[in-house]
Every structure is written in structure tokens, then in C-alpha cells.
């Protein structure tokens, strides 16, 4: 006889965890980003660029020490859930709990409320809800929550194009570089460039966003994709945009590419740009 073991996670635990992750993601910049700043500081040729990188290192230190947001744009709360199929949620609706956690984290953590209720009428919701929630059901009995607050400045410079398959790799590379060049100083370089290639229109955009969650500078496990990431990073840094767009060689800290199978007629490419405040924190319940 098969024994069913169901793990129970309460909505109370989810609320507390999400609230904590909202604050931690905004106060504590990841060690991977700090290491990337330090490495760039050694390589950067522009004195203004070096000054800016030093200010960013100092800023991360102050934010962590004072437990204040590293950037005043504390972002849209983008939440990735990996829900084990043997997990039961007790005490209420899962998405209500996520939003309650965001409300609590952004209010209690003195984070800026940057969400308007209607894209055209534009009245601030006052508590940074609702979150954008992406859920994947996976094997197992755990619930993994990743919180990635996304700022408006860099999100606004992101783009998606449905290329013709004949445009191939060269077309993909050109679109990525053109998008970064057009973004220029606006997304607060040095930036992290998340690229999705393949899937459908919406899957491609999601791949680009998921690419931003990878540890900074860790290459793709696929050798051909890792080689493209390396080439694109070099070409982007050769543009001269530099820290804050004021000139220099540190335009991007990393290029991360995620791919997915696609239709015989399609070659979608999405570029999701993140500012240097490449924030994300996760927890497993």
C-alpha cells in the first residue's frame, strides 16, 4: 500500500517569510554582486567610473549596517514559487498570503510603495501589492519562495523581439547589444543582462527574468550558451557606456542566458535588464 506523506505549510509561515524576504532583499546586496563591483573596480579605466563603483560599494555597506533600502526604488515584488506537489497549504489562500507578506514587509520595513492599481488611472495601492507571482509545481514536499524586487528604471529598458529563425545567432546577438545600447544610462549601469531565447512570447520573457536570478557571473551549464554569454559581455563592455552611463568599461556585470525549445517558425528573444541592485533572496519552507 502506498503511504501518502503530505507536508503542511501554513499561510502564517508564508506571510512571515515573504515579509522578511522583502526587507532582506532590499537591505542586503548579495555577496556575488559585491564581488563583481570589486572586480570591476580593478578593471575600470574611467576615474569617474571608479568613483561610482566605490560609491556603490559604500552604499551597499551603509544599507546593510543601517538596515535601509540600498535604492529608494524598492521595486515591484516579483515572487517565484516552487511548490512541491506533496505540500498542502493550510489556513487560507496561498496568493493572499504572499500579498499579505508583501504588505507587511513593505510597510514594516519602510520600503517605498511603488505600485498603482490601474495602469491608466494610476492610483497608488499604498502597500506595494499586488505582487507578480510565478508558480511552478515541482516534485517533493517543500515550498521554495524567491523574492526579486524589480525597479522601474531598468524594467523600462527591457525588450522582446520575435526574430525570424533565419536571423539565427547573429540576429540574437545584435538584438541584445542594440537593446543595451538603447538603454544607455537609464537602467543604472553597471547592469545585469538577463536573456531568454526560445519558448513562446510569454515564456521567453519569463526565461529572461529567471536568468536574473542566477548567481552573478556563474556561466550557463551549456557550453555553447556559456560561450555566447562571454562574448556578449565583452561586446557590451566595449560599448563604452560605463558606470551610470558616464563613460567606462563596466557597462554590465554579467550576461545570463536561459533557453527553451521553440516553434519551427519562431525565434523569440527577450532582454530583461536589471540595475546594479541585483536583488533577490530565497527561503525554503
Amino acid at each position: 500500500m502506498e503511504v501518502w506523506v503530505i507536508k503542511t505549510v501554513t499561510t502564517g509561515e508564508i506571510v512571515e517569510t515573504v515579509a522578511r524576504l522583502c526587507m532582506e532583499a532590499n537591505y542586503y546586496l548579495g555577496d556575488d554582486v559585491i564581488r563583481a563591483f570589486e572586480n570591476s573596480l580593478k578593471e575600470e579605466l574611467s576615474l569617474t567610473g571608479k568613483d561610482i563603483l566605490k560609491q556603490l560599494l559604500m552604499n551597499a555597506k551603509i544599507a546593510a549596517e543601517d538596515q535601509v533600502p540600498m535604492c529608494q526604488d524598492t521595486g515591484f515584488a516579483v515572487v517565484f514559487l516552487e511548490l512541491g506537489q506533496e505540500v498542502r497549504i493550510a489556513g487560507g489562500n496561498l496568493y493572499d498570503a504572499i500579498n499579505e507578506g508583501v504588505r507587511k514587509g513593505y510597510t514594516g520595513g519602510f520600503l517605498r510603495k511603488s505600485i498603482v492599481d490601474h495602469p491608466l488611472n494610476r492610483v497608488n495601492t499604498g502597500d506595494n501589492t499586488p505582487a507578480v507571482i510565478h508558480t511552478r509545481v515541482v516534485p517533493g514536499d517543500k515550498l521554495k519562495i524567491t523574492l526579486a524586487p524589480k525597479g522601474g528604471g531598468s524594467e523600462n529598458m527591457s525588450a522582446l523581439r520575435m526574430l525570424k529563425p533565419a536571423e539565427g545567432l547573429e540576429g540574437v546577438k545584435k538584438f541584445v547589444i542594440d537593446t543595451v545600447r538603447a538603454a544607455g544610462p537609464n537602467p543604472c549601469p553597471p547592469m545585469v543582462v538577463g536573456v531568454g531565447i526560445g519558448g513562446t512570447f510569454e515564456k521567453c520573457a519569463l526565461l529572461a527574468k529567471e536568468a536574473l536570478l542566477r548567481e552573478l557571473g556563474k556561466p550557463s551549464p551549456l557550453p555553447d550558451i556559456a560561450a555566447i554569454e562571454k562574448e556578449l559581455l565583452e561586446k557590451i563592455n566595449a560599448l563604452g557606456i560605463g558606470p551610470q552611463g558616464l563613460g567606462g568599461r563596466t557597462t554590465a556585470l554579467a550576461v545570463h542566458i536561459e533557453i527553451y525549445p521553440c516553434h519551427i517558425a519562431s525565434l523569440p528573444v527577450a532582454v530583461n535588464i536589471n540595475c546594479h541592485a541585483a536583488r533577490h533572496k530565497e527561503a525554503v519552507l
Binding site: T48, V68, P69, Q72, G245, C275
Partner: protein, 184 residues
């Protein structure tokens, strides 16, 4: 490169001597404003009504700070993208606004207005918001409290760090800087 200390309000003479790439430490009063506050100010001008602040000689900082924690003067307060204020800025420059602080490029219209009416654009480091807020010593809301973080705040700053990005000669550090460091 030496840093230049300036106090607000700024005179034509001071502004005309600034050049792109110079590092400046601003002292004195600054006024905050972003999209919503600019929209309201331009509506007032269209109706022939006075602005809530006299912009003559003043500097506007494009920022929407995060809420202050208990004991803090202001929350994190880094610059927002200036391009969203481009359609409003020339009107204020024509009224005597001498400086703007933000991040990112300005439109040809704003650059032309800066040249014509003697004003400059300063870049602050986007995302260095916790660091920047340490140079803000006083903060009070003086107009549009209903806009929350987008209200017009009067800030008193000491050694607020900026870089001259556009000067009165039409110079543009975003263009020039990129040219220097691009790999040919």
C-alpha cells in the same frame, strides 16, 4: 579631479563656469519633484497661476524617497530617470531654474533650454540611495502632500555629491564619456 563646493541658489555666473565631468558637492536647499509634481506645476503655469516654489536660481532633484525610519531625516533617496521630466523641464528652465539632479540622458529640447537660459544638469549616482541620504540634513514637505513620495520636499543638504552631465555650452557627458571608452 578636485571637487567643487557650491551653495544654492546658483547664479548665472557660477553655472556658466561649470563643465561636464566636474565633480560638485552641493550645499543648501534643493527641491524634489518627479512626474506627478511636474505635471501639476505645468498645469498651474498653463492656468497662469503661481508655482508652489519660486524656481529662480534653484535646483530640482528628481527623487521619490523611501519612507523614513523612526529617527531618520529621510529614507533612501537616490535619483530617478530624468527623461520622464524632459517634456516639463524647458518651461521651468525658462523661468530661471538653474539646476536639475537626476540620472540618465536629457532630450535635445532640454539641452537647448539649458544652453539658452544658462542652466546645468547634474548626475547623481543612481542606486546609491542610502549613501546619498546621509548628505540630506533636513527635509520637509512643502507642496502636494497627497502625492506621498512624489510630493515636493524642501531638502537642506551638505556636500551632496553630483557630477556635471550637461553644461551651458551644450556639452553632454553621456555622449562624450561613451566616445572615450568605446572600443573602436
Amino acid at each position: 579631479m578636485p571637487q567643487i563646493k557650491l551653495s544654492t541658489p546658483l547664479s548665472d555666473e557660477v553655472v556658466e563656469n561649470l563643465r561636464i565631468g566636474q565633480k560638485v558637492l552641493l550645499n543648501g536647499l534643493l527641491y524634489t519633484g518627479r512626474d506627478a509634481a511636474h505635471k501639476k506645476m505645468i498645469e498651474l503655469l498653463d492656468q497662469g497661476k503661481p508655482l508652489p516654489i519660486d524656481v529662480k536660481g534653484q535646483v530640482i532633484y528628481y527623487v521619490g524617497p523611501s519612507p523614513a525610519k523612526p529617527g531618520q531625516i529621510i529614507g533612501s533617496a537616490g535619483p530617478t530617470t530624468s527623461g520622464r521630466m524632459d517634456s516639463y523641464a524647458p518651461r521651468l528652465i525658462a523661468l530661471g531654474l538653474k539646476g536639475m539632479i537626476g540620472k540618465g540622458k536629457r532630450s535635445p529640447e532640454v539641452i537647448k533650454a539649458m544652453k539658452q537660459h544658462k542652466a546645468v544638469y547634474f548626475a547623481a549616482v543612481g542606486g546609491a540611495a542610502a549613501l546619498i541620504s546621509r548628505s540630506i540634513k533636513k527635509c520637509r514637505v512643502i507642496a502636494y502632500p497627497e502625492l506621498g513620495p512624489e510630493a515636493i520636499h524642501e531638502l537642506y543638504v551638505e556636500n551632496f555629491p553630483v557630477i556635471v552631465a550637461n553644461d551651458t555650452l551644450g556639452g553632454d557627458l553621456y555622449e562624450e564619456g561613451m566616445k572615450i571608452y568605446a572600443v573602436k
